[in-house]
């Protein structure tokens, strides 16, 4: 038994090493939690279950938007084995170079994680591919849905969806990279209702990213909840008619049910087939539409500012009656002279009262009315008079956003006192300086939507409901916006009688006889928005029937001249269609749809500046239209 002291040294070395290991194990297993996280990151994959986006219907239950299944082709580079790339490329329609590029990109992202190889294959392509997919190791298909628009109408209103950008992902925790979100139209404004609730499925994967079953028997999984369907206020037939009538024209139509504010049709032309902005072709088509000289992406119905022309005489007269400046019996001399200029009128019987002035759209009558209001002594100064006049105008839903449930609505323009103070100098302007406002010219900028809303106000004799596009969400009434609130103007109901009388005469015996149809009592007013750069814009506003009105409409056809030529027939055909569900004047209809008012594209008359102004910011002083006298 020699050297027995050494045994303790050896024993000690063994003990120390094992003790160090135990301490280390205790640290990594019990104290340090980071390894648990890493283990979960290794093995758990959170697979998003995408909910079906809500469908969209018209007011009669016809489908406007639905979902179509498409297939994203996914690849896991590590699992890709040699295969017949030629037939593979043929099936999905790419070149061999594309193939190499895409595969390289996927490899750069990750060799074991899946990435999208080709987006949104059609059902047809998928059918062919599916049969041979087993030969292409490492590729698999993930279904997705795309929006589809069976009737190809109302692109601006329905809007489109697009992938969320990084900024939004950072801002809104709901969205993840790769998600889709509504970026315009009601897809945008009703995003939260349409999108539904994402679900998640947690699966375990092995080191090659192969699925190995659900985690914890699916206890932490959640099912996707489909988005809610929307029933819109649109009437598909009316919308389609409107788009057909404005084919090959620049302009817009807005039709509203006055008793509810429900928008029956909202047309802007040139437009686009909403199916163009779907899926893999979206960005290509979008940039092409963006480049188009005729600006098909521009929603004229809600964003274009026009001087309302003669149609605004109605508002002017209503305001003046409320302040007792005029009454239905008031007669003005048939002239309006400012300095060396005099406002012209076209030949019509003299000595007109209000009703007749509306019927014949007498320019001097309404310039005089405007001057009598603004320069009235009871308001002390012209500034104060104008300020009050402007407040009245604003109560008609002009010069401010009226709150439609669609994005990108613009406010229009009714200049403030400050504007004229700056333009002419304080105290250096009065009614005779800005009289053209009285006949809807000058600096006024009104959108077609606002014009249609003014028609609702006149039809209702003094109030309107916020125009809106969505009636029902799921099975319930749309309560997301304040739609039941009655917006009352500053003008009493009694003052509307004479105006309606005049408007009735416009159709029965005035400038818009073309608008008559059936036995309906129709109230209308033509207008001509002056366009210093080319032919005037043709405008017609109307509602029908006079008693218990069902439809109010505003039609704007750019560069078409006199209001009765194009705008009034369009409005008339649409009202007839809506009220009688038929078209009794096929030759008028033919003439309308055949009319081509588009400029030849290289026409020098048609420069960018001739388009309705697209304000780049929303201050009210954006739009200045040359002051000129009205020539109806």
């Amino acid at each position: 038994m020699q050297n027995s002291g050494q045994r303790f040294v050896i024993l000690g070395i063994f003990t120390v090493v094992i003790f160090i290991y135990l301490v280390r194990l205790f640290y990594i297993q019990v104290i340090d939690d980071s390894y648990k996280l890493s283990a979960n990151n290794n093995v758990l994959r959170y697979i998003t279950e995408y909910p079906a986006r809500g469908l969209v219907y018209d007011r009669t239950g016809k489908l406007l938007v639905y979902n179509e299944a498409v297939y994203d082709l996914m690849v896991i580079p590590k699992q890709v084995k040699d295969f017949d790339t030629t037939s593979f490329c043929d099936i999905i329609g790419i070149t061999k170079e594309d193939f190499e590029k895409k595969l390289k990109k996927a490899k750069t992202y990750s060799r074991v994680k899946s990435s999208i190889f080709e987006k949104q294959l059609s059902a047809e392509t998928y059918a062919v591919l599916q049969e041979k997919l087993f030969k292409f190791h490492g590729f698999y298909v993930q279904p997705r849905t795309l929006r589809k628009y069976p009737n190809k109408v109302a692109g601006h209103t329905l809007g489109y969806i697009g992938e969320v950008d990084d900024k939004l992902v950072a801002k809104n925790p709901y969205y993840q990279s790769g998600d889709y979100i509504g970026v315009s139209g009601l897809e945008q404004s009703y995003e939260e209702e349409l999108r539904g609730q994402r679900g998640v499925r947690i699966v375990m994967v092995d080191v090659f990213n192969r699925e190995k079953g659900s985690f914890s028997n699916g206890d932490y999984d959640s099912a996707a909840v489909s988005g809610q369907n929307l029933v819109t206020t649109l009437d598909l037939e009316l919308q389609m008619l409107g788009e057909r009538l404005l084919e090959n024209k620049i302009g817009s139509v807005v039709a509203i049910e006055p008793s509810t504010g429900e928008i029956l049709a909202i047309v802007t032309k040139p437009g686009y087939d909403p199916n163009l902005l779907v899926g893999r072709v979206r960005s290509k088509n979008y940039s092409q539409l963006l480049k188009d000289e005729l600006k098909p992406l521009f929603n004229r119905a809600m964003m274009a500012y026009y001087p309302p022309g003669s149609t605004f005489k109605l508002v002017n007269a209503l305001i003046a009656q409320q302040e007792s400046i005029i009454n239905p019996g008031t007669v003005f001399p048939h002239s309006f002279v400012v300095g060396s200029k005099s406002v012209k009128c076209h030949p019509h019987p003299g000595g007109l009262s209000l009703e007749g002035a509306v019927q014949y759209s007498c320019n001097p009558y309404f310039c005089n009315t405007f001057r009598a209001f603004v320069d009235n002594r009871k308001f002390v100064t012209s500034e104060k008079g104008y300020k009050l006049w402007r407040d009245y105008v604003l109560s008609f839903g002009v010069g401010r956003k009226i709150g439609v449930d669609l994005p990108h609505e613009l406010a229009g323009n009714v200049p403030k006192v400050d504007f004229y103070d700056r333009y002419y100098g304080k105290g250096r302007w009065k009614a005779s300086t800005i009289f053209s406002l009285g006949i809807g010219q000058g600096e006024l900028g009104v959108t077609p939507l606002q014009m249609a809303n003014i028609m609702c106000i006149i039809a209702n004799k003094g109030y309107y409901y916020t125009p809106h596009i969505v009636k029902k969400i799921g099975d319930k009434k749309n309560t997301t916006r304040n739609l039941a609130e009655k917006h009352v103007t500053m003008v009493n109901a009694s003052h509307f009688e004479a105006i309606q009388d005049g408007m009735q005469k416009v159709v029965e015996a005035g400038t818009a006889r073309v608008a008559r149809f059936g036995d309906f009592v129709i109230c209308g007013k033509t207008g001509t928005a002056q366009n210093p750069h080319g032919k005037d814009h043709s405008l017609f506003v109307a509602f029908a029937p006079r008693e218990n009105p069902k439809i109010a409409i505003a039609v704007m056809v750019e560069n078409s001249g006199f209001g009765a030529t194009w705008a009034a027939p369009v409005a008339s055909l649409m009202m007839e269609k809506y009220l009688t569900d038929s078209i009794s004047r096929p030759e008028l209809y033919e003439r309308m749809i055949k009319g081509n008012l588009l400029p030849t594209r290289k026409d020098s008359l048609f420069k960018k500046t001739d388009r309705p102004k697209v304000p780049e910011f929303e201050s009210e002083e954006d739009v200045i239209v040359d002051i000129k006298t009205d020539q109806p």
Binding site: I10, F14, V17, L22, A39, V43, D206, V207
Partner: protein, 420 residues
């Protein structure tokens, strides 16, 4: 000498019990590590766990066979067995099959044998036999030389097979030599050589040598300035400097690229978790995510889903750590500690020098396997591919550890009637 009444007389049941416990734990964990839904039976021969059952059964047969043989056989045939194993090591170099870069396997049908495993107990027996020869003194240079040769020959041949891990195991015999009278300076020098090696990889060599020179000057100043002291200290300093400056050569010219990477990763110089660090990182995640009580049997995702490589062989400890947590680790280390303590206890109760020396060899071999294998899985040592005794999957290793241990059990059973 009287005859044994039965082969089980005087058997150390504690060792046998720990052995059986470790083997069974190993089997269950191999099952969990490579669990295959399609082959749920632990007895399924097509899977590693089914095959391990075969290895366990044959090991038990081997164990009983060893207990049946006359105990004198091992001492008497120590040299022939050693010689025979050396011949096999030569044979494997000539006719062996290369697996994962090491030409260290014989392939017989579906089964493979790794002769290097058997060199361990053979060398241990030969060394014990030599050191137990009468009139041997460790202080003699001749003794050191012969004993060293016994160890160096198998190391050289295994290195030629490119199986660095197995070769490293033979370093454990330093404990045996120390126990038998080798100066403790050898242990200390060895320890400091390794320390300097690691330091030289991490810190500037000039700094290390400067510090060492400083310490030497200080030592000379403090100690008696005899000629002998000064020469000794100078020689030590020169050797240390030699180690430090040879590190680069050794590191770049002797080590394989993967070995360099593993060392670099351990020292924090390489942080590529997908490259050199992948194994260790996944192993750490497996063990670390086990927590106190583990994820439960068959619930270890790291091992079952193949994130950890070699999870039934070299990295079997990951399954223990992941599915049984710290408590599982504690049980395994506890069993090994008990085994090592028991072997050392047995060693010291022997009247036979051969048995005592052999026992120290057994303890040393088991200890170095334990230290290197678990140290690698918990990121304290570089990745060196040697099995965890009794637990890792593999016929050669289980057979060789069984033979190694049961020869000791057999030798120990003679403790009461061998007088010398």
């Amino acid at each position: 000498m009287r005859k044994q009444k039965s082969i089980f007389e005087n058997i150390d049941w504690l060792i046998v019990g720990i052995y059986l416990a470790l083997v069974l734990i190993g089997w269950v964990n191999i099952y969990a590590a490579v669990y295959n839904e399609d082959h749920k039976s632990i007895l399924d021969i097509s899977q590693n766990y089914g095959r391990q059952m075969v290895w366990i059964a044959t090991s038990l047969v081997l164990a009983i066979f060893i207990l049946v043989i006359d105990g004198k056989f091992f001492e008497a045939f120590a040299y022939p067995i050693y010689g025979f194993v050396l011949l096999i090591l030569v044979a494997v170099l000539l006719f062996g099959k290369e697996v994962a870069g090491s030409k260290s396997w014989f392939e017989i049908g579906a089964f493979r044998l790794q002769p290097a495993e058997f060199a361990k107990f053979a060398t241990n027996m030969a060394l014990a036999k030599y050191l137990s020869t009468v009139n041997i003194n460790m202080k003699d240079f001749r003794t050191k030389l012969v004993a060293g040769t016994f160890i160096i020959i198998p190391i050289a041949m295994i290195l030629l097979q490119n199986d660095t891990g197995s070769a490293l195991v033979f370093c454990s015999f330093i404990f045996v030599l120390y126990r038998e009278g080798l100066s403790q300076n050898v242990l200390i020098i060895g320890f400091f050589a390794v320390l300097l090696f690691v330091l030289a990889l991490m810190v500037s060599k000039i700094i290390i040598v400067s510090v060492l020179a400083g310490i030497a000057v200080l030592a000379i100043a403090l100690l008696r300035k005899t000629r002998k002291n000064i020469i000794t200290i100078s020689v030590i300093l020169a050797m240390a400097a030699g180690v430090v400056f040879s590190v680069d050569y050794f590191f770049h010219n002797v080590l394989e690229p993967h070995q360099k990477q593993r060392i670099n990763f351990l020292l924090g110089k390489d942080t590529d978790l997908k490259g050199a660090g992948y194994n260790v990182n996944q192993s750490l995640i497996a063990i670390g995510s086990g927590g106190l009580t583990g994820k439960g049997f068959l619930n270890g995702t790291q091992t079952k889903f193949d994130f950890v490589p070699e999870q039934s062989t070299d990295f079997i400890f990951c399954t223990v750590g992941e599915e049984w947590g710290f408590l599982g680790s504690l049980v395994i280390l506890g069993l090994f500690t008990a085994l090592l303590y028991r072997i050392l206890f047995i060693a010291e109760r022997q009247k036979s020098d051969f048995t005592r020396i052999y026992a120290y060899g057994v303890a040393s071999i088991l200890f170095i396997h334990l230290m290197v294998n678990i140290g690698m899985t918990i990121g304290l040592l570089p990745v060196i591919g040697i099995p965890l005794p009794f637990l890792s999957y593999g016929g050669s290793s289980l057979w060789s550890f069984t033979i190694l241990l049961f020869i000791l059990v057999k030798l120990d059973s003679y403790r009461t009637f061998i007088l010398r």
